[in-house]
Symmetry: C2
Subunit: 203 residues, 2 copies
DNA sequence: GCAATTTCGTACCGTTTCGTACATTTTTAG
DNA sequence: CTAAAAATGTACGAAACGGTACGAAATTGC
């Protein structure tokens, strides 16, 4: 950002970026409560006090992981949705890009950190409100993209179509965690995209 | 069931039925890992050794809770789906019956034990396979019900419609946990039902 | 070189965790 | 009335938990 004012003491050697990435993967695999600070320490290579210094307590580590995961989604998948042109293609490509994240090349899919693990820990207010933000975000982006391709479609129908597209994505996480293959979900995604466009086109 | 052969020792005083119900509610609120055996002991009124004797270890308690929850769904909601007559009405009524379970009269919705909390703990094989069973069950029942109302509809379209209806239900759990109101989800349910019937009717 | 400053991990604390051994209570069989 | 049988909770143990005080290490300013 700004130029370096050359700080005073011992220089930091911790790579918070890669540490946060390791935390995201661990939380995706096992959820919030089942992950211990020792697990996080081992996965990141950082000592437990270092974790506290860099990320606060366990809860804020998890919320931070949700934000980091959201940034990955915004960078890797959202552009597919917001690409101009054919809506059905945009939706299909977006679903496939999300599945690439959900499956992480692994055979056992870690799924979605937000839609997959957060609902189980939503008794924590911070997690609940971050989950709500994620859902609202997807609903809003979907709706905006549909309005782009169908500008004179009526409000209620746009909202319904957006909800159905979001529901498809949300359900993907549970399906992935249950053992569904990536190609199975990709097929569901393209079928849903076709149906949703049909709904928007209907007289 | 069969007549009583009059067992030998001290008669059991534990009400396993109501104990399991209390366990379901606790697991719905906090997930699997965040619930301790002391929590379960307090909620059920049973001592920790009694829990072990009646239900095995913590993992089998959770799987047992998933089964008990599934039985409630089969009893309270599935009949609405499988009612004869208008498909759109059956779907709408089924969604509303599921929402009655997901919201439990409470203001803060506990959501679905299977679709809401299990994905977060699917690294346990028993939980993962029980989750898969739940999803497969919903997909299959949906598809059978749609075939009932649209017998000559082609296979692929029936499957797509069933998946979209299941996805609606699965997403309800995450949405409920995020703070969505019951009437909001009820509206999404009836809109989705209308769209799915439209898909099945299309030329 | 010496003090101030910042980073970092060892070692520790009190609490909570899951799971069980064992004595106690309540019943039936004879 | 006594012995066998089954159910139940108290009390305990070893391990893991989240979180932190504190001293060692590494740098800059003078």
């Amino acid at each position: 950002m700004s130029d370096s004012p050359r700080k005073r003491g011992r220089p930091a050697t911790i790579d918070t970026k890669s540490a946060m990435h390791a935390m995201v993967e661990l939380f995706r695999d096992k959820g919030y409560a089942a992950v211990s600070l020792d697990d996080l320490s081992e996965a990141t290579g950082l000592s437990r006090p270092s974790l506290y210094r860099s990320f606060g307590n366990k809860l804020s580590m998890y919320v931070g992981a949700m934000n980091a995961f959201g940034e990955d989604v915004a960078e890797l998948a959202l552009p597919k949705l917001e690409a101009e042109g054919d809506l059905q293609t945009a939706l299909t490509d977006f679903f496939d890009a999300m599945l690439a994240i959900y499956y992480r090349d692994s055979d056992i899919a870690p799924g979605c950190l937000v839609f997959g693990t957060a609902p189980s820990h939503a008794d924590e207010d911070e997690i609940k409100s971050r989950l709500k933000f994620g859902i609202d975000q997807v609903d809003a982006r979907m709706r905006a993209r549909m309005k782009l391709s169908f500008p004179e479609c009526n409000t209620a129908r746009l909202t319904t179509a957006a909800h159905m597209a979001s529901n498809t994505l949300i359900a993907f996480s549970a399906r992935a965690k249950s053992g569904a293959t990536r190609s199975q979900l990709s097929a569901i995604g393209s079928e849903s995209a076709r149906t949703i466009v049909m709904l928007l086109r209907a007289d």
